[in-house]
Subunit: 427 residues, 2 copies
């Protein structure tokens, strides 16, 4: 038999923890001898009257798990990159206990360390729930596509910001209005910084990139932009040009160069990812043998995330072989700098409504080797402003050249507001 | 360690077998001590000069595997529901060897028997490659959603017929023309019966239904219609009504009643599944904890299918615990009869171009408790015919009533051709 380890410790009974207790209540009896030996929870909890929770010890402080030995698998659902979550995880691994966690902040930050420690102690660390709750993307990369070389992954990894972008376009309301609605509906937190500034997406992208390319894709090397400044106008212009604006995490490897980006960008409406709306998450994986695969599901929430956690527990119960691969020798790998990006752009200029504006922009583009693909000029009467609005899309060019051109253009006297730009991704 | 079993036997080197040999060549070295001890192939083969193929015995007849003992996992890639494929699989299981197969015909037909035999012998039978090659749908149902109750699965499970339907609409050519093109491109076989008559879809649906609902969803209980008689006209009418016509496999459980259907039907354009075009496969899984999850990828082809096969091999290497669940007691389960379907319909009538036609149809509908939702009449000059074309969509009604009404309507003297009808699915 693969297993004597059948006792689980649960640390943290928040949204996901409650979902897990419910799943264990409903499904736990199908796995004989599985027991929850201990739960650490600051708040008082009432456990269902089921065999699986018989004799469960309740601790009021997760710290007490450090000296608690009677478990085989730690399920860490506290969260946070440092602090008690990290402490009990490292402690468990060193005690040769397996770990299941939903903690994206910790896994993305300490990918390498946790990887080494679990390997050294011959036990598993599993974190399906850390990325896209209801989409088994970790399992897909780590088990299904195990024989494939992954070349690129891109996806909508944050439901909150996707809900906001979707709702802005469908209701015609602006960012702040929709953010308030999302907060009322419980789709956005009181402090929405992590979600709307792309940090949550960067955590998840870091994990996907590390796992897919088998390197330590550190968070601080990921160029990250959020959706705080997205203007309804740009969503509409993008729509009329055949695009949707989505906050994407993108990681890519070519030879020894890895690109890790998080930013809102334009994607063609017929791309899989453009049709992922609302709180859904969606991920496209490109690999040598399977080409493009696409996976979509609820990204967060109590039950989809707890489904992931339970799937990880089950997987450890069924197997005692760690799936961890050796880290690729980092020496030869380079992380691409953002200014090296080569691609298309969408630009919205707010200018004086007078002749000579286009030629001024065009001249600066020419100097920087940028060529226009389309141009669209809104009559200043339509958007009720004294200013003219010019939307330009470009052919492929280097980001550095684009930034240089924009710095100079923004200083020109016909420019009324700082020019808005987004990258266009043609996957 | 989970495993001493590290020798694999491959039976059949066709499209998938060649893909598997390539994957083993590229990736096999990452799994120490994995060896291909024997390959059965009618045609002569040349193996790559890799350690994994060192000392591989080549048999010119799969029958010889019956008396061959030196392997731990049989990889059956011959195909066919009976005959040698079934013989060597049963033989292997009885010898307590694990089995990986891509054989949808055999698994769908002998689901129950193979399940019992592998259980009795405490070994695994795995068949990820049997359904939607590049989509890990078996793993998702069996491992990721293990704690979820699945209520419905629907999907495009056959790339050939999806390619034909997609191409008909985009090129405006009729069924026979596109079928010929598909045959030239290698997307359809010389004898395309299995693909276009829905049999291949029914095989796969039977497996998904059996696995999800844990019962023996026998093939002969699945109502199966194909796309042979699909008219370009209907694809266009559906398009103008906001639908696409897709060949779907649908399985659903409500209480103790299971529905298993395979037919072309209208789905709303904004449904995930409506955007699965070309040779792609796509599957939606509805479950209690994860709501809707959607998975899309290449459905067939050498490498996506071999990726599935390899993933199954790896999974057996990592675990010695069989995932098989007990079959639900079949006594209480009922398979719903097709005529019990309750839903919407699309109908195309070809009639005399004269007054009284609509009222004649409407009268018969009323008698059968069917109410119209929309009506669209094409001027006979537009489609260059003496006949009139009337397209009607209905509200929900019972299939039995619809069939009764159509039998009577088709006998009316203003009806010029047998009325075409499709089900509309509102997922």
């Amino acid at each position: 038999m693969a297993l004597e380890k059948k006792k689980i410790a649960i640390a943290g009974i928040g949204t996901v923890g409650k979902g897990l207790v419910k799943i264990l209540e409903q499904f736990g009896s199908e796995i004989p001898n599985l027991k929850v030996s201990v739960i650490a929870s600051r708040k008082k909890i009432r456990l269902p009257k089921k065999k699986i929770f018989k004799d469960t010890v309740i601790l009021n402080d997760a710290k007490k798990l450090i000296k608690f030995e009677d478990y085989d698998i730690l399920v860490e659902l506290i969260g946070g990159d440092d602090g008690i979550a990290k402490e009990i995880v490292i402690n468990a691994l060193k005690k040769k206990k397996h770990v299941v966690t939903a903690n994206k902040a910790m896994i993305s930050k300490y990918w390498k360390d946790i990887n080494y420690i679990s390997k050294a102690n011959k036990c598993s660390i599993k974190y399906e729930a850390a990325v896209a709750g209801g989409v088994p993307i970790i399992k897909i990369i780590d088990e299904f596509l195990i024989s494939n070389k992954i070349s690129r992954i891109y996806g909508i990894l944050n439901g909150t910001s996707n809900f906001i972008l979707t709702k802005m376009l469908t209701t015609g309301k602006n960012f702040n209005e929709i953010l308030k609605e999302a907060q009322k509906l419980g789709y956005a937190e009181a402090n929405p910084t992590f979600d709307i500034d792309g940090i949550d997406t960067a955590h998840k992208l870091s994990i996907l990139s590390s796992l897919s390319f088998n390197v330590d894709s550190e968070l601080n090397k990921i160029k990250t932009e959020g959706i705080r400044n997205i203007n309804l106008l740009d969503l509409k212009f993008a729509d009329s040009l055949g695009y949707k604006i989505k906050l994407l995490g993108i990681c890519e490897i070519k030879g020894k160069i890895i690109k890790n980006y998080v930013y809102p960008c334009l994607v063609e409406k017929d791309n899989f990812i453009a049709n992922v709306d609302g709180v859904y998450n969606g991920v496209v994986v490109e690999s040598d043998f399977c080409n493009k695969s696409f996976f979509q599901g609820e990204g967060a929430g109590s039950f989809p995330t707890a489904t992931s956690v339970f799937s990880d527990i089950k997987s450890i119960l069924d197997s005692d072989v760690s799936h961890l691969k050796k880290l690729t020798n980092n020496k030869n790998i380079q992380f691409s700098k953002p200014e090296k990006r080569f691609g298309k752009y969408y630009l919205r200029f707010t200018t004086d409504d007078k002749p000579g504006v286009i030629s001024g922009i065009a001249k600066e583009f020419k100097k920087n080797n940028i060529s226009m693909k389309s141009m669209l000029q809104e009559d200043s009467k339509i958007i009720k402003s004294k200013d003219a609005t010019i939307v330009i899309t470009t052919h492929d060019c280097e980001e550095k050249n684009m930034i240089d051109a924009l710095v100079r253009i923004n200083k020109m006297n016909f420019i009324k507001k700082k020019t808005v730009y987004f990258r266009i991704e043609n996957f």
